[in-house]
């Protein structure tokens, strides 16, 4: 982010803030959408985070740290919206079926469902680390900085999340299933 823009926005320059917000809004929404798994909540979190950026910018001491700082506000907003998150749909009873399942692990609706379901079962703490690390490609040290936890905790959350996802995907290695009502 252009440090000059950040400094101008810190001083109350709305045009500078508009430029900043335009530059980060889509990314914020993408991150929030992936963490919260709900578009409406993600929009709310993004809006909340952008307004928090505007409000709290004067308190940012080091403008060069805007990115980490603003991501922190976004994560906070996701936590706040996450508390409103609807409970995941009731578990469906699954029974084996005979149809073959495509090999491509992402072309299969079944796989997508499994991934989605596994991901939703993760706590927001874990989803945040996964999304920041695997979607934004941030190193875990920076993820830890944003989340406000030691780096070891970020590592541990990622490991836990991947283990949980592995268990979720493992269901796919069992005989194919079909849904019954």
């Amino acid at each position: 982010m252009d440090t000059d823009l950040v400094i101008r926005a810190q001083q109350g320059d709305t045009a500078a803030f508009a430029a900043i917000a335009s530059a980060v809004a889509d990314r914020f929404l993408g991150v929030a959408r992936r963490i919260l798994r709900d578009f409406d909540l993600a929009e709310d979190a993004t809006q909340q985070a952008l307004l928090a950026v505007w409000q709290d910018l004067p308190q940012l001491r080091d403008p060069t740290r805007f990115e980490a700082w603003s991501h922190r506000l976004l994560v906070r907003a996701c936590y706040a919206e996450g508390r409103k998150e609807r409970r995941w749909a009731p578990n469906l009873r699954l029974l084996p079926v005979d149809e073959p399942v495509p090999d491509d692990d992402l072309s299969s609706v079944v796989d997508r469902d499994l991934i989605e379901r596994g991901f939703r079962r993760l706590s927001i703490d874990h989803r945040v680390v996964v999304v920041l690390h695997l979607y934004l490609d941030l190193p875990l040290g920076r993820v830890a900085d944003i989340v406000g936890v030691p780096t070891g905790t970020a590592h541990s959350r990622l490991h836990h999340a991947m283990r949980a996802m592995r268990a979720a995907l493992d269901a796919d290695s069992r005989p194919p299933v079909r849904e019954v009502s």
Binding site: T14, R34, Q47, D56, P58, Q59, D105, D111, F119, M165
Partner: protein, 296 residues
Amino acid sequence: MPTEPEVTRIVRTWLNAQEHETADRVLMNVLGALDTTPQRRSRWPAWRPFDMNTFAKLGIAAAAVVVVAIVGFNLMPASGGVGGTPAATPSTAPTATPTEAPAAAFPPEGPLAAGTHTAVLEGIPLSFAVPGSDWMAYPGFFIGKGGAENPDDLAIAFWESAPENVYSDPCAHTPLSPVPDHTAAGLAAAAAAIPGTDLISGPSSVEIDGRPAQHVVFKIRADLGCDPKNAYLWYDDSSGGATDGWHWASALGATHQVWITEVDGKVIWIDSETFEGLGPEVDQAIQQVIDSIQFE
């Protein structure tokens, strides 16, 4: 069963394969709200990253999970004081008299040594003591220890100019009307009745340095109705017109204490904020500081 690297690859691919969303609607809402959304010009760091140098300076054990950042208090900058523009002083005024009040003052930002420190609030010199070496002074006339992101945080604000009023609707930033009497009793009664808070005690009659004072303790309710940082509790507009400073809640469940006294006709306001789930030692530390205050 997929290996962990395979799972990582699958999840990464899945995250990146999801459709790209545009935030145009959100952006429009945000930019449309700027005019009615004031920036918060706190005089102390609301958040800053983990600061190992500060830790080293303070000699805090590495295991202590403390971020040296405080958002426990959030005041807009008032005129004068350390870290801001000094209050009007009589330095060049030939009409200055020996009775003119001294300018506001507070220990400079940084670690506070255990022991006594001095300040000037409302032209009233005073001293206070911190009970340990792990305290910091922050611009904005407040002291604290710990970090607001962590549960062992506490902070005490010494208002260089006492708040004028509280908010009758903290989330909507609606000032109480009519404005309460600018007395310890009037302000304490108002502070005890701020919506969105649960009164724990007060207004109670206590003493600060042997002077009568009012004490109020309340908690921020879980059903506050807005983000705590958008819930403004009280404000100072002593310079007239624009609000010079305000204090907002930092967290749901946080406990706020307010002490208000009067010295030589001036209202002195001190408040503290602590986070939920702390032990009694935190309140004891705050009380130790309050008990140490001496007006000169």
